[in-house]
């Protein structure tokens, strides 16, 4: 039986057994529509309300400020388009960044086609947004700022507290895509000072197809889909009770284990990085050396293309991701690495290791043993790698 090692937790995570257990009753006997007034409906409504409270507690928000969606992408779309459309009379300028997830970038591009003006803030070589840049670009007609909390590709954590303060001082709403940070590091909406926040269950050992959007009291927002009065008429659609219950349970588990997991993952990531750089020359870290979510390690291996490394690892049962053009849907390399001014050939040579609950010291050591030979073999075939040059 081939050994399988999963190092792509930023892409998705397996459902935690306790989460599955919590969800099952709602696929079996407790199936009522939460909007129905009979006992079947009431059972589901109780579960819905309890889950909402759990999420609110986790984020340090009020339950009335929590809205359930189908995932991170929908939450991002709802936050950005919803605020833009509802506040059009106040202004039509939005500020975001060059390293956002595609759900944010594409929502912005869509709004541009509708006549909104979007400024995409640059980042430095670590992927950090400069607060002074935001101060410069925010205007009288700015209605929203959206900056990602932790970047999914390189893991860099943005200075959200400072950035949201600038927005607040200018009377502008602040949204953050916390899809990658939720469940990995502390996410407190009061501390972060945000008005809107997106999260997605399948990134923290919950089920796929469910997420949430935190919307601070008092914010005007136009819904994406219209229909019933679910989620205070802001997000129509019969609630995905099993999914929502799963999401809430997964957050409970994340909170319970966070301190321990943070330390453990940081150790795994650091020891892996150390082993790799000891055995393989010309390896470069992409992302901030310290302000990074603990599980994410994005490395460039000079002279070797990302997909060819992934294929070799896959043949050994090891799963990772890359920022190379060949692995993206388009023929362009990672927009995140490009925004960080990573040279194109190094962007093509990038690999993202994202560790998670299932990874052990043993697994990580095994990968550290396998990788040098793979890189060596590919480098010997490369027309652009010369041992002597750096």
């Amino acid at each position: 039986m081939e050994r399988k090692i999963y190092l792509d937790h930023n892409a998705t995570t397996p459902v935690h057994p306790e989460v599955l257990e919590a969800m099952l009753p709602f696929y079996k006997g407790v199936f009522g529509n939460a909007s129905s007034i009979h006992s079947f409906g009431r059972e589901s409504k109780v579960a819905l309300d309890e889950s909402r409270e759990k999420v609110a507690k986790f984020l340090n928000a009020d339950p009335l400020e929590i809205y359930f969606t189908s995932g991170g992408t929908e939450s991002d779309n709802l936050a950005i388009k919803g605020v833009a459309w509802a506040n059009r009379k106040k202004g039509n300028h939005i500020v975001s960044s060059r390293i956002e997830h595609h759900a944010v970038l594409e929502s912005c591009k869509f709004l541009e086609r509708e006549g909104f003006e979007i400024t995409y803030l640059p980042v430095d070589r670590y992927g950090l947004v400069d607060t002074d840049e935001l101060k410069k670009k925010i205007r009288k007609d700015t209605i929203l700022v959206s900056i990602i909390h932790a970047n999914n590709e390189v893991g860099t954590i943005e200075p959200i507290e400072e950035l949201s303060k600038v927005a607040r001082e200018n009377g502008v709403y602040f949204h953050t895509d916390a899809v990658q940070s939720t469940g990995k590091i502390k996410v407190d909406v009061q501390k972060l000072g945000v008005d809107l926040l997106s999260l997605s269950a399948h990134k923290f050992y919950g089920p796929k197809g469910v997420g949430a959007l935190y919307i601070r009291r008092g914010i005007r927002l136009t819904p994406l889909s219209h229909g019933g009065h679910h989620e205070k008429a802001r997000r129509a659609g019969t609630e995905n009770i099993p999914g929502i219950v799963g999401l809430a349970k997964a957050l409970e588990i994340a909170e319970r284990d966070m301190e321990k997991e943070e330390k453990r993952l940081k150790n795994l990531s650091e020891s892996f990085f150390k082993k790799i750089t000891e055995k393989i020359p010309h390896v470069f870290l992409n992302g901030h050396p310290e302000h990074r979510i603990p599980n994410t390690l994005n490395l460039s291996f000079k002279g070797v293309e990302g997909e060819s490394i992934i294929l070799n690892l896959d043949l050994k049962g090891i799963a990772v991701a890359s920022g190379s053009a060949c692995t993206s849907g388009s023929l362009e390399p990672s927009h995140v690495l490009s925004a960080m001014d990573v040279p194109p050939d190094l962007a093509q040579s990038s690999l993202r290791f994202s560790f998670g609950r299932s990874n052990t010291v043993d697994e990580v050591s095994y990968v550290a043993e396998m990788l040098p030979e793979i890189i060596s073999k590919l480098r010997s075939m490369s027309p652009i790698y010369q041992k002597e040059k750096a």
């Binding site: 060819s308 053009a325 060949c326 692995t327 040279p343 093509q348 075939m381 652009i384």
Partner: protein, 126 residues
């Protein structure tokens, strides 16, 4: 990616990897921005490609197509070699995913460039 067994075979065991010390023709194609670079070296004797080597920076399809084209071109006449198209390469590999067809383009172009280089060098030496 849905690679055929043949592509995976060539990817894991690429043929003719390396450089030729005194090549008769060299063809280099691609650039790091688009993610694929192929360098093909040929040795020509009596109008035949008697030796061929390659080096490639690129994805699974890039490596497999490079390897396959060296197999296809060995011992062919220059005229036969020039006829090798991306379809020939892709078919020999039992097909490539649609978004990887451009890799087979690169292989055919690298070969054509190598032959062009050989002819240019010959002209200079005449």
């Amino acid at each position: 990616m849905a690679y055929s067994a043949k592509v995976m075979e060539h990817f894991q065991n690429p043929r003719n990897v390396g450089e030729i010390e005194n090549p008769d023709g060299v063809g280099e194609i691609g650039n790091p921005v688009c993610g694929d670079i192929m360098k093909l070296y040929i040795k020509v004797k009596d109008n035949r490609v008697v030796d061929v080597k390659f080096k490639t920076f690129g994805c699974g399809a890039a490596i497999a197509t490079s390897s396959m084209i060296t197999e296809l071109v060995k011992n062919k006449t220059l005229e036969q070699a020039e006829k090798i198209s991306r379809q020939t390469v892709a078919e020999a590999l039992d097909g490539l995913p649609a978004n990887k067809m451009h890799c087979s383009n690169l292989a055919a172009d690298a070969l054509r460039k190598a032959i062009e280089d050989y002819r240019d060098r010959k002209k200079i030496n005449e």
